[in-house]
Amino acid sequence: MSNTHSVEIKNLTLSFGAVDVLKKLDLTIGQGEFLVLLGSSGCGKSTLLNCIAGLLDVTAGQVWINGKNVTWAEPSERGIGMVFQSYALYPQMTVEGNMSFGLKNAKVPKPEIKKRVAHAADVLQIEPLLNRKPSALSGGQRQRVAIGRALVRDVDVFLFDEPLSNLDAKLRADLRIELKQLHARLKNTMIYVTHDQIEAMTLADRIAVMKDGLIQQLGSPDEVYNKPENLYVADFIGSPSMNLLEGVIEDQFFKAGDLSVPLAGYDFSRQANGAAWFGIRPEHVSLGSEAESTDVKLNVKVEVVEALGSDTLALTEVNGTRFWLRTSGQSKISAGDAVTIGFNAAEASLFDKKDEKRL
C-alpha cells in the first residue's frame, strides 16, 4: 500500500514549549501529486514543510517518505529537494557551484555531477548563467537556479517554501506556469507552501487549507472553492470573500430578517435546523434581469463600485452585512444605483452556527 504513497505524515505534533504549532496531523500524499499547503501566516504550513524536510525535530509522530520512516533522518538522506522563498543561494559560489554543492557533499563522481548540472540547466534554460555569481542574477534567474539546485539531486519529492513570494507580480505569473509545466514533465511529488490563493488554485492537484496547526480541508481546488468544509475555509478562499449572512434554518428555509431563502435546491450533507451561516460567492449573485429566475430576489442599493476591467465588483448591503457581487466588466452600474439581485441555494454553502461545519 505504501508504495503508491510518496509522503505520509502520521500523527505529527510539533511543540515549542507549551505551544503546539502542529497538532496530531495526518496527511498522505500520492506519487506524483502536487499538493499545496495553503494558509495565512502562523498557520503552521511552513513548519510542516520543515518537519518533512527534517529541518525541525518533531515532538511526536512520524514522517514517511517513499515507504521509509525518515522521522529522524538527516535532511540530505530523505530523498528531498527544497526551494526557498529567499532562494538561499550560496553567495560566494557560482551558479554551477551552487547546483553541484549537494552532489559534492554526497560524493557523486565528477563526470556525473557535470552531466546532471548540464541537464538541469537545460531544463531550466540557465546554461548561460552557470559561471555567474548569484549577485549578478535577477530575481527570476535566482529562483530558477534554486529550482535547479533541487533538480540535480534527482529526488522524488520537491519541497517549495513560498518560492514565488519575493518576485514581482508578472514574473510570479510566468514562473507559476513554468512550475506547472515542470511538474507535468517531471511527474515528481511536489509539496508547495504558499499564502497565495491563486498559486494554490492554479498549481495544486489537492489543496490542504491550514489554520492553527490543523488541516481545515483537504481537497481539489474545485472542492475547496465550491464546497468549503467549514466557515474558515469559506471565508479564507476567494477574493472578495464569500458573502456570509447570519440567520436560522427553519422548515427548508434560511431566514435572516426579511430575507427568506428556499433551500430545496441545496444539497445537504446532514439535516439541520437552527442557527446557521448562509454563504454565497460574489460571482454567484445575479444582477438585474438575470436575477429573474433565481430562488430569491432582493432590492439593494449599490454603495461602492470597483471596475477591474475584466469584471466589476459592487458592494451592497443585505441585512446590515456587507454583500459583494461580481458582474461583467462591461456592466454599467454605478454607486447609488438601486438594483435587483438574486441567487440560488444550489450554489450556496450553509454552515452550522455551533461548530461552523458545512451542512
Binding site: 520543515n50 524536510a53 527534517g54 529541518l55 538527516e74 535532511p75 540530505s76 538522506e77 528531498i80 529537494g81 527544497m82 526557498f84 522563498q85 529567499s86 532562494y87 538561499a88 543561494l89 550560496y90 553567495p91 560566494q92 554543492f101 549537494g102 557533499n105 554526497a106 539546485r149 517554501d161
Partner: protein
Amino acid sequence: MVDATHFDGAHGPKPTRAFSRRNIFLYGTLIVVAFYYLIPLYVMVVTSLKGMPEIRMGNIFAPPVEITFEPWVKAWSEACTGLNCDGLSRGFWNSVRITVPSVLVSILIASVNGYALANWRFKGADVFFTILIFGAFIPYQVMLYPMVILLREMGIYGTLTGLVVVHTIFGMPILTLLFRNYFTSLPEELFKAARVDGAGFWGIYFQIMLPMSLPIFVVAMILQVTGIWNDFLFGVVYTKPDIYPMTVQLNNIVNSVQGVKEYNVNMAATILTGLVPLTIYFVSGRLFVRGIAAGAVKG
C-alpha cells in the same frame, strides 16, 4: 544593542550660508573641543623629541628647539624597569607573543561557538550563554583569584599559555555575542539549504558561513588586538616579570622610583606603547568603531 556603523545621513537642520552665526558657533565649538583632544598627543610627541635640559627650562607646549631622537632609542632599548635595563623592546615582543595567539585562539573558539549558538541550538545552550553574558559584567576582581587557582592546577600559572587562556576566557562573552548576532543575522534559509545539500556542522561553517563573514572577523580582530594589547590587569596578575606585556613594563619604567625622572624617555615609551592600537585605529576607521561599540560592554 547599538549599531554604531551607520553614520550616513545627518539629521540636523541643513546649514545655510558658510559664515552664518550658527556655523561660526558650530565649527568654533568643534575646533575648540578638537584641541582638547589633540593637545595631549601633541605634548607627548613634543616632549619625546626634547632633551632633558630643554624640558626643565621651557614649557611643555613649546615645540622642541633641537629635535633629538635619543629618548626614543633609550625608551626602546635602554630604559630601566627596576629589574633590568633593556628597554621597552622586551615588553613589545612579549605583547606580540601574547597578543597573536590570544587573538587567534579566542576568535576561533568564539566564532565556532557563536555559530553553534546561532544555528545548532541545543537544550541548555541558552542558559550557558546567559551566564556567559552576565560574566561580561562581573568585575574581573571577583574572578581573579579563582583563575589563579585554576591556572596553577593546570600548571600554566605565570606562563604565556596561561595568559592566552585567560584572554580567551574573558574575551569569550563579547566575541561570542558578536559572532552569534552576526550568524543569526544571516538568512536562515541559507543554512537550511546547506543542510538539505548534505553539509554538516563543520562543512557549513567552513564552506558557507566563513566566506560570508570576513567583515565580522576583521571587527573581532580589531577588538581583540586593541583589547589585549592594552590589557594591564591580566598581564600583571598572571605573568612573571620576564614575560610582562608592554603596558606593565611601561608602567614600571615610568613609575619606577629609582633614578632621575626622564620625562622625554617616558613620553617616548608611552607613545611606543600606544602606537599599535593607534595604528589599527587610523587604518581601520569604521570597522574599529563597530568593534569598540560592540566591545564597550566589556568595559
